[in-house]
Symmetry: C2
């Protein structure tokens, strides 16, 4: 196939089938701390699934991959959500496919987060590993720790792999 | 009392009685994503306590308070941890007291996070509401949602309130 992918701006509505957008722009808030702070409450909910699942906070430091990029695989976390929030204000790309049993390469969508936006993948949503657009970019990660295996990888047949160009 | 408070640099060791420091400097990591990403794993663990507690992700937008600041009150979240991670790379202050039944004004400590450091208060640790050092600063918050009341406030007698000067 090798079809080119179209990059869409990241919006809460567009991303809703895959998860939540963590941002303040256009969102409701309420005052706390005697009015000195706006709370943009519960922009995302952390799913930690069954058994001994618990939420943990990590940092990913990522280098930029080379483009055009062949999307050869996707991964998913069946038992927990996974949030990525940029810590350096830098845009990044989000490649997702719906949470079907196997990912459908034809259903892949690509969003560009503007640097003030994070995302939270719902459990089971197929996604590409982090796609920083500059080297040494950093992201805060909120995901699941626990004893159950929680990362599936799927590799597409070569002729199915879409191409991501900037 | 009105004693002045000493501001300490934030370190994992110094902050250990109160919670975790979320940072990469000097921390272990392991490679993921074919070596393109460093994972600084589980820098903090999210506690969500009993009943229907669940972790949520919010953003706080805070204005700078006026200094010298009288520390007139502290709050605590008895059933959950609460993480603050700066999204604009700006330093902020962290005022804490140990998780005794009532906070001891004489036991208050103040740490300065350098802008590349977040913190995660352990459940029950007394702390001051967010102390941004510039207006319109933003923090990612990971804390607990649930039906149990989860915020206690304690107001010090006027003569006990310490003073925080920059």
């Amino acid at each position: 196939m090798s079809r080119p992918l179209r990059i869409e701006p990241l919006t809460a509505e567009g991303f809703a089938p895959f998860g939540e957008v963590i941002e303040t722009a256009g969102r409701d808030w309420y005052p706390i701390n005697n009015g000195s702070t706006r709370r943009y409450h519960a922009l995302a909910r952390v799913a930690t699934g069954p058994a001994d699942g618990a939420a943990i906070i990590s940092i990913f430091r990522a280098r930029r991959l080379d483009y055009p990029l062949t999307i050869a695989m996707l991964e998913r976390h069946p038992h927990g959500s996974q949030a990525f929030v940029p810590l350096r204000g830098e845009p990044f790309l989000v490649v997702v496919a719906p949470p079907t049993t196997e990912p459908d390469a034809r259903a892949i969508r690509v969003f560009r987060a503007d640097g003030q936006q994070g995302i939270n993948y719902h459990a089971g949503v197929w996604h590409h590993p982090v796609l920083a657009l500059r080297d040494e970019d950093e992201f805060l990660i909120v995901d699941r720790a626990g004893s159950l295996p929680n990362c599936d990888e799927f590799f597409f047949a070569a002729q199915e792999c879409p191409i991501l160009a900037l």
